[in-house]
Amino acid sequence: MLEGSAVARIANSRGALLVEGTIALGVFCTALFANLELVRRAYFEVLLHHGAFLGVRAAVLEAEPRASVRRFWVKALGESHGERFLKSAELDLIPFSRGVLYRAHLEFPTWLNFSVPGGTKHSFEVTRKCRFFLSR
């Protein structure tokens, strides 16, 4: 027969375990999510990097840069995802004195907004540029 204090101790320890478990699960899920998000963003950086290269190459070869970048992103992400990625990214062709510069820019939303000098930060931005010099 358990005494009242022993029952209370068991109940307390189960409650503590539940709380600890819930916190641990939350931390676990957040860490997992953060990891996967990092992987996803790294993948997007590769897409931007190679997209900028393909864009500038197409521009130099007098093809349609946006179509070239779109073809690659659709191939990498699938039709619907690729189109969405193309819509969310900004692509600019900037001519300069000795060639062309192609800029692929993407904004990631932040989970928490925070202040920085000059305003509130709502997003992280990634820009990849590729230049093609026509040296010959």
């Binding site: 997992l32 990891n35 190459r57 070869l61």
Partner: protein, 200 residues
């Protein structure tokens, strides 16, 4: 539980940089292959431009010399004046024909040199660059309607030069188009590199 935690959190944490590195590496290899391909194509285009512009310049110069020759040629064909002009006419014909053969030889040499340069340029960055181009330029002699000498050249068949590179299981291809109208007219020859169907 700790093992599950480590494997689920640790695996992406440690594998993500490796995976990202491999992706970037693959993208870099493809970019390098494309640049090698473009460089080889540019060299091909440069040599084609050199050949066709050289022949165009030769045709213009030959036209001037041929005009001078026509006067002597007419004189040599006239029985009254033939004795004075026939020797000069033969000498001029020999010179003009020698110049035409020389121009053809130079064009072939520049063409073949361009082929070698294109392959060498492409292989600076990638070992698998191949160039598909005839070993000789496609030329046809045109005979002068007045004196009947094969002094001029024109392009016989318009073919595109091709460069290819294999990177992994992908094949990238460029076409080099010569841009111009005729070796007898005043338009300058240039070239344009175009992405092939296999390029991504």
């Amino acid at each position: 539980m700790p093992l599950l935690f480590i494997s689920l959190i640790g695996a992406p944490l440690f594998l993500a940089p490796v995976w990202t590195y491999q992706l970037f590496h693959r993208a870099e290899q493809i970019e390098k292959a494309c640049i090698a391909l473009d460089n080889a194509s540019i060299r091909l285009g440069q040599s084609a431009r050199e050949v066709w512009n050289g022949l165009r310049a030769y045709n213009s110069a030959a036209e001037v010399s041929d005009l001078a020759h026509h006067a002597v040629h007419t004189c040599a064909r006239n029985p009254l004046t033939a004795s004075q002009c026939v020797v000069l006419d033969q000498a001029m014909e020999k010179t003009l024909l020698a110049r035409a053969r020389h121009a053809e030889r130079i064009a072939s040499a520049v063409w073949q040199n361009g082929l070698a340069r294109a392959i060498a340029e492409g292989r600076v960055l990638h070992s698998q660059v191949t160039v598909l181009r005839p070993t000789m330029p496609s030329l046809r002699s045109i005979t002068c309607t007045l004196c009947g000498l094969p002094l001029y050249f024109e392009r016989h068949v318009v073919e595109f030069d091709r460069c290819k590179v294999q990177q992994g299981n992908q094949i990238f291809e460029n076409e080099v188009h010569s841009v111009g109208q005729s070796l007898r007219s005043g338009s300058a020859w240039n070239y344009r590199v175009m992405e092939g169907a296999g390029v991504q």
